[in-house]
Symmetry: C2
Subunit: 344 residues, 2 copies
């Protein structure tokens, strides 16, 4: 039943005529191995389809076989999907996943000051939250591999979507079907941290308005989540001039916006079009038009990058960008004459 | 910024006049310490509000400071919520969370045969999946603390809701408002494993029907998930006699059932009442009546039980049962005369 590991470090050592310790050092990218020897070992390992296993690799000392995943939340669709992709990929590579959830800034500060990761892990995957310069330096200091998901930090390899392009896809759909008054509900960290995805999606919204020759912006910035979406739509509806379509930071925000519209008796899409980003499972249920992003695949790609780094390879792409695409459902339609229609 | 650890094992040792090693052994519940000494050490630790920290505890050898969490899925609301509760509680206790997702039986078999947990963790939390006798014995053999969530296994401490009672609460609501033809959509593991929650909820459905003097059962058993719910409702609608209300294993199943009803043009709740279990975030969106279970709290309670076990205490409750309660929304109503009403 159990697929036995067919190849081990001793096989690679035998094939290249060096010691097991040298193979281990070479495959983990450590110093003390010439480039020529490293290349020979790498080639032999590739030929034998040898995957670094933590048990084997720790024979020579350094490796723990563990990778830390640092997230700001666990029980939200986005984060649990990323985590599922990471865990699956790491486990396939023989690595264990250590999970750290840092929800508020005080936890984050304590974490980066104490750095409990020291000597505990071979690599760290940081999901989505913006690192301060100080935090980035602390991570560099502990000398393990680092991969960033849904953000960028220094020279660390990263996995992202193009957030600006995703916003342009969403707003472009609205301009194409004829909307000229388009709002945006952003999603802001309650503690005021600037998330890259929010800023880049705002830039995409603006770029697409400019491209369509629309000068008028309707932007609100409530705290993220469904309640933020509810509140954001209330703000947009209470303005002197109300848009006919709203681009929401995410599907969860859009679901909140839809709730407010339902309560206000404003029919969707007849009197208001709504679009999100994600293709969260709730989007299908709510018949929500959205821009799909491959979330679990982000985790898989980051896991693969870690395995490559620990195997002594640079990752195939230093800054991987996964594709997004428009999914048209029932929450968007061309604008009508402006009358509020009765719900059907 | 960082709350410094105020108290350490040396303080406890000083206070009780024993060695640090003895404190460590006593607090981790190891042999070689008399009951009298253990009680004195425990009392001193409690007085000093000392929490076992893995670094301190590993000074004496045995402890790793890590707890393995074994789940059958990560990116589903239920599991990510349990996981959030566990991680939060363990981190507060100075313990790290190692995550293992075993989705299919081949992974499960390999995992329990190879037992990668050996020497890696101090405790294991198993979430929801049914352990075979063999797997239970393997877990006992590695000699670490084990806590079970949403199931029972041997003498391991467990955290559950009363699944039968939750089902009785759901079906009781339907009988109270006058339904006499009540169906159930179960949720079955695609590989045929018998999940305790499914069996106990089925028992609750039957018990409540019996209590109401209803002899007629309408039970379908599709694979779990939203698609299973869609299919389950199709099966119920295609029978010779159709119920007026349906109890679904979970809210995700109920959402699938609602989709089928919408496609079939059957108005909810006028022609069909639907109730789930969970109070999944989607339940509010779908205006679904449900029985709420405290999911994150299950994780918190299991994390606390692990910390108690590792501190040498038996957990406060060996088989903790958390409460559930009915949340009435718009998807249930008294049965009508049987006419299919138009949707409003």
């Amino acid at each position: 039943m159990i697929p036995k590991q067919q190849v081990n470090m001793a096989d690679v050592a035998r094939r290249t005529g060096v010691s097991i310790a040298t193979v281990s050092r070479a495959l983990r990218g450590e110093r003390g191995v010439s480039d020529k020897t490293r290349l020979r070992i790498r080639a032999a390992a590739d030929e034998l389809a040898y995957v670094v296993s933590p048990e084997a690799s720790s024979l020579s000392g350094g490796s723990t076989g563990r990778v830390a995943v640092v997230v700001p939340r666990i029980n939200a669709w986005y984060y649990s999907s990323v985590l599922a992709g990471i865990e699956n990929e790491l486990r396939a590579g023989g690595l264990d996943t250590l999970l750290y959830c840092l929800e508020v800034s005080s936890q984050r500060e304590a974490f980066f000051e104490q750095l409990p990761l020291r000597r505990k892990v071979d690599a760290v995957i940081v999901v989505a939250f913006p690192l301060t310069r100080q935090e980035r330096i602390r991570l560099e200091e502990i000398g393990v591999s680092v991969v960033i998901i849904s953000a960028h930090a220094g020279h660390f390899p990263s996995v992202n979507i193009d957030d600006q392009r995703a916003a342009e896809q969403a707003v472009g759909h609205l301009t194409r079907i004829g909307h000229t008054k388009i709002g945006m509900i952003r999603a802001v960290d309650p503690e005021g941290l600037a998330y890259e995805s929010d800023l880049r999606r705002l830039a995409g919204y603006r770029a697409q308005l400019a491209k369509a020759g629309l000068a008028e912006e309707f932007v609100v910035a409530p705290p993220w989540g469904t309640e933020g979406g509810e509140h954001g739509m209330e703000l947009l509806l209470s303005g002197p001039d109300v848009p006919t379509a709203v681009f929401c930071f995410s599907d969860e925000v859009a679901v909140g916006a839809l709730r407010t519209l339902r309560r206000a008796g404003i029919p969707v899409p007849q009197s208001m079009s709504v679009i999100g980003i994600d293709d969260h499972p709730v989007a299908e249920l709510a018949d929500l038009t959205t821009v799909r992003q491959p979330v679990k695949e982000k985790g898989t790609a980051a896991g693969r990058a870690v395995i490559e780094l620990l195997g002594g390879h640079p990752p195939a792409e230093r800054a991987a960008v996964l594709p997004t695409h428009l999914v048209v459902r029932g929450s968007t339609a061309p604008p009508t004459s402006g009358t509020v229609h009765q719900r059907t």
